[in-house]
Amino acid sequence: MARRIGTEVSLAVADAVKMAAPDVISAYPITPQTHIVEELSEFVANGELDAEYIPVESEHSAMSAAVGAAAAGARVYTATSSQGLALMHEILFIASSMRLPMVMTVANRSLSGPISIWNDHSDIMAERDIGWVQLFVENGQEALEFTWAAFRIGEDKRVMLPVVVNMDGFIMSHMIEPITIPDQEVVDAFLKPYEPQIKLDTADPVTFGPVGVPEVYLEAKKQCEQALLDSKAVVSEVIDDLNHTFGRQYGLVETNGAEDAETVIVTMGSLGESVMTAVDRMNANGKAVRQARIRLWRPFPVEEFMDAVSGAKKLVVIDRAISPGSVNGPVAQELKSVFYGRLDAPEIVNVIAGIGGRDVPVDDFVQMVELAEKGELAETYTLWGLDSDA
């Protein structure tokens, strides 16, 4: 029988990882991810999980050991945040270029400096081009279920890529939520054991990571890019099965609110839940507003996003990261690229909110929509909540 319990989201993620039966976990402590790997090391210490837990000496080594373990044919898990993700940077590209499946939870946190342990998306937005499948979750239940989905997506023969599951640091990682944990058999039926397509094997010696001379580098890059593009169909398939197995309604882009609304507020991550409340309130007050929540960030689901916001005249895009020196935050940049040159392109206004753990109350989203509709937000982006003398 499935259990419904109140638990911290990090612990639920650790449960999900345990139920996925990884062979190797390599991790380094960093707030706010640490509870996940602490719990996992306890499972290993208690014999509840038969895996090798490598307590590495840095995140750079966490990712390097994960690459080594995945190359040897193991199912691999790691988790990190912020500076830790930044320290992994170099190796993240190599993991995807070697087509090595693995799952990493990122408890999203702002980047130094100044040092901040609190939430925003600066860490993952600095890693947009690593070639990994990148998913966002909004609550604990999703964090649990998308951990299994992530293993299945990455290990699919058509994909063979690492997958990152983003969840907001503290806001999710440290939240106690009611979470339904299914029976192991249900997870086993959803996620089959990993069968590597290529691995370090003395019976069939393979050279991994050769020198990419100019005559092959481009083709090698194309292969990885195509695998990432092809992964979208696999993500859809896996999400369909997730919906079927657990009775959900997940999608690559999910929508809620008034279907005929001309204004759509776009979110990614846990802010989506606050915005849902704001949208419900506005709709109840007779104001037609819709919301689109981006679940799959890489590969970006262009068609699905366009469908989700069709008919919209104005997108209010909430970014949770600054892209210094650019015209917009990362999500708004992406959406402008998506719509560029299209006659039906909606106007895109950009609000950068919730930076470095700054709270964004529900009422603020109502205010953002009002200001956007009156044309009173900056043409480039608005740093929401900024204290300024001007």
Binding site: D23, V24, S26, D50, A51, E52, I54, P55, V56, E57, S58, H60, S61, A62, S64, A65, A66, V67, G68, A69, A70, A71, A72, G73, A74, V76, E90, I91, I94, M98, L200, D201, T202, P205, V206, T207, F208, G209, P210, V211, G212, V213, E215, V216
Partner: protein
């Protein structure tokens, strides 16, 4: 903590048999003429054999063995980056351990790691230290050619005092490298790993016996191999073994091992040669004056004496 580890049962290599043992690095590799590093790597793999997985740091040996679509490797091999060979090998080792325990793989091959002195003593120092400290069952081999040769002869922390490199050039105000070589074998020995040794391709049976012992112990092992580089040292290709031999015979690079924390020489030089014999064969030392050579001679003697004291201090008490 000193431990008694009995390695007397480990097979010894016979000099006359070496040529029959197959190198896991094939001919057709792209190392420079007279490369002592690839030769050492070949000797290591002649012992390790086909039941081996190799993790290679970025560097000369990675470049010369794997330009696509060709590989000189006859065994499974992985190169990830410069500073992480220790961590990659940790992951491989942990994976094999877990998969073997779960019955998903049938054998537990040797896990070998190769890195140059830059990858070992500088950029990959932390990752190597972590791998050694955590006790993974693997052999890390440092192929020390005493500078960053792959990028064009820049100094590393393993470059010896007095050597001229492209980033520690000799000049009117400089002797060249003005710091002393970082002592990696001693640093690794301080990790309390079961086996650490120095070796030189000029002494093949000594080197290969050490590989066999390193692979026989349960836990991490470290082998520091002196690897002459004609290109970086400004020496003649045919002199590589002669220079390596002189490094040993001048006591500049003593051959020793640390088994369970006990230091012991594996080769004692009866008639020690003056350091000048070694220095004069290499352009990187050409600028040194007699006075400076005298200082290096003194340093060599002091270092050797210190090592002798380590041997005495950690020796087993005779009944």
């Amino acid at each position: 903590m000193l431990k008694d580890i009995d390695l007397s049962g480990v097979d010894k290599t016979k000099l006359k048999e070496i040529h029959k043992m197959e190198s896991m690095v094939s001919s057709g590799h792209r190392a420079c003429q007279g490369c002592g590093e690839v030769l050492a790597m070949g000797m290591v793999t002649r012992v390790a054999g086909p039941d081996t997985i190799v993790c290679n740091a970025t560097g000369c040996m990675e470049i010369i063995s794997s330009p696509y679509p060709q590989t000189a490797w006859k065994v499974p091999w992985i190169h990830v980056a410069f500073e992480n060979a220790g961590a990659v090998a940790s992951g491989v080792e942990a994976a094999i351990k877990a998969l073997h325990r779960k019955g998903k793989v049938s054998s537990k091959p040797n896990i070998l790691c190769f890195g140059g002195d830059g990858a070992t003593a500088d950029i990959g120092f932390g990752s190597l230290s972590g791998a050694m400290e955590r006790g993974h069952n693997l052999l890390y081999v440092c192929l020390d050619n005493e500078a960053y040769m792959n990028t064009g002869i820049q100094r590393s922390s393993s470059t010896p005092y007095g050597a001229s490199t492209t980033t520690s050039p000799c000049g009117t105000e400089s002797i060249g490298q003005h710091t002393q070589k970082k002592n990696m074998p001693r640093i690794i020995a301080e990790h309390g790993v079961p086996y650490v040794a120095t070796a030189s391709p000029s002494h093949p049976t000594d080197l290969m016996d050490k590989v066999a012992k390193a692979l026989a112990v349960d836990g991490p092992a470290y082998l520091h191999i002196y690897s002459p580089c004609p290109t970086g040292w400004g020496s003649k290709g045919e002199k590589s073994i002669e220079i390596a031999k002189l490094a040993v015979e001048t006591n500049l690079f003593p051959l020793y091992e640390v088994v369970g924390g006990r230091f012991g020489f594996t080769k004692k030089i009866k008639k020690v040669k003056p350091i000048g014999d070694y220095l004069k064969l290499q352009r990187r030392f050409r600028h040194l004056t007699e006075k400076e050579i005298g200082f290096i001679q003194q340093t060599v003697e002091d270092n050797y004496e210190e090592l002798e004291r380590f041997c005495q201090a950690t020796a087993k008490c005779e009944e």
